[in-house]
């Protein structure tokens, strides 16, 4: 599914937001893919993603996991999923994956021109893309934009608007730091595509704007 797509928010908030997914194609190159997928995960984890996750172990980097345990549970059809907050790290991962020629598909989500530029830097030619055209229909039913910026970082919609509002309020009122808030919000996203760095930045911005309004 299109789960890393459809992240909502102002363009400038995606400068350091790069969800990463790799997987074999079922029935084409999935037989015996486990060691290759394991290697993809090792390479990605070596480059310090901001988050990483697994639906098999129901854990993500924010909750903490045992790297070896996660790698040992890799099966032929296991996807590798996480998020980077630094374009240079993604380029380094792509370069290494190209060099090792593992043959597993990889998708990077982000601002299209930026991702294309990163591909070229790694010596890759983008093959295809899934474009997000936006939200249609009864948009008046949606939570407010400030909340959507967070809830849409979990593509499976496991993060509730209610929890986001609670954390936003706690940070605005100084009862919690943006980083602490981001960590709580990252928890429901087992795939590990929730970007805590972006979340902390959004919480910080809201807190600062709130302080200015009060002055």
């Amino acid at each position: 599914m299109s789960h890393t797509l459809h992240r909502f928010g102002p363009e400038e908030t995606f400068q350091n937001d790069f969800p990463f997914i790799s997987r074999p194609a079922m029935k084409i190159n999935s037989d015996g893919a486990a060691p290759k997928m394991r290697r993809v995960m090792e390479i990605a984890l070596d480059h310090e993603p901001v988050n990483w996750g697994s639906l098999t172990t129901k854990q993500n980097l924010t909750m903490g996991f045992d790297r070896e345990e996660l790698l040992n549970k890799t099966e032929d059809n296991s996807p590798a999923m996480g998020c980077f907050d630094d374009r240079d790290k993604v380029v380094a991962v792509l370069k290494q994956l190209k060099e090792e020629d593992l043959g597993m598909s990889v998708v990077i989500t982000g601002l299209r021109d930026k991702v294309e530029e990163m591909c070229h830097e790694a010596g890759l030619t983008p093959h295809s893309a899934d474009l997000a055209l936006g939200i249609f229909g009864a948009t008046e039913l949606l939570p407010e934009d400030e909340t959507l910026c967070f809830t849409t970082m979990c593509g499976h919609a496991m993060l509730s608007a209610g929890l986001v509002r609670q954390i936003r309020k706690a940070v605005r009122e100084g009862r919690m730091t943006p980083e602490e808030g981001a960590k709580i919000l990252a928890k429901p996203c087992y795939c590990g595509i929730f970007n805590q760095t972006r979340a902390a930045m959004l919480l910080e911005q809201e807190k600062e704007a709130n302080q200015k309004n009060e002055e």
């Binding site: 459809h6 363009e11 998708v107 890759l124 893309a129 899934d130 039913l141 919609a157 209610g162």
Partner: protein, 240 residues
């Protein structure tokens, strides 16, 4: 899901966590609105209920309620629709599968997303007009098994089931893009019960451009910059 009333102490700690806002407290007991619940499992897995009062009753896995879990809980693999999960591999492995080739374009209309959820029948706002135009829905997508693919009408037994989201997925020749994008754009005006997030799966041209972008701009549809890019590392590589 359900709350064991004997265990619940009505503390309300669980209230903010449900993505559908389906939990409420009345007379110091928590209740789950069974119509609103999409069986995503967050309450059972993640809510730190001091009494561990949430549980999955057997009817969650019985047809037709079981479709809620298929489309709502990403941690489970289900067989009730005959297909696993909520969607397909779409662009993720397109460099190997060649699902969408040059000269074609893929549509992924995810109903209920973001956050709102949808009744299965609400997809008819697009599936009926698309079926009238002969669109063939992606057979590997679990939603397709819930439709009469000739008419786009949702089967009676699952019409009223509320699910977290479901993707109307299909590919067409590029020549039909303007016509079919127009149908979807028009249908969106009649989508009054929920929302859908619209994704387009496209193949890069030899020169690195995307043919759909100028067509969308001509139609007045703004193309945001967010995209999911298949970087072309898959093997065997499909260069079509």
């Amino acid at each position: 899901m359900k709350v064991n009333q004997e265990l619940c102490v009505g503390c309300g700690k669980c209230l903010p966590f449900c993505p559908q806002g389906a939990i409420h407290v009345e007379n110091r007991k928590a209740y789950i609105d069974q119509d609103a619940c999409v069986e995503c499992g967050i309450c059972v897995r993640q809510i730190e209920c001091p009494r561990k009062a949430f549980y999955e009753p057997p009817e969650v896995n019985e047809w037709p309620r079981s479709v809620r879990k298929v489309f709502g809980d990403p941690t489970e693999k289900h067989q009730s629709t005959g297909v696993r999960g909520r969607g397909t591999e779409e662009v993720k492995t397109n460099d190997v599968t060649g699902r969408v080739k040059r000269g074609e374009i893929g549509f992924a209309l995810e109903f209920g997303r973001p956050s709102i959820g949808t009744k299965v029948k609400d997809v008819e706002v697009v599936t009926i007009p698309l079926a009238e135009r002969g669109i063939v829905f992606e057979p590997c997508n679990p939603l397709t098994s819930l439709l009469d693919t000739k008419t786009g009408i949702v089967h009676d037994d699952v019409r009223e089931e509320k699910i977290l989201s479901a993707i109307v997925e299909f590919a067409i020749p590029f020549e039909r893009f303007e016509e079919i994008a127009g149908v979807v754009y028009e249908a969106a005006k009649h989508c009054t019960n929920t929302v859908f997030s619209w994704g387009l799966v496209v193949r890069y041209e030899e020169d690195g451009t995307i043919a759909a972008v100028p067509v969308l701009e001509k139609m007045g549809i703004h193309v945001p910059k967010n995209a999911k890019v298949n970087v072309g590392l898959g093997k065997p590589f499909c260069n079509e």
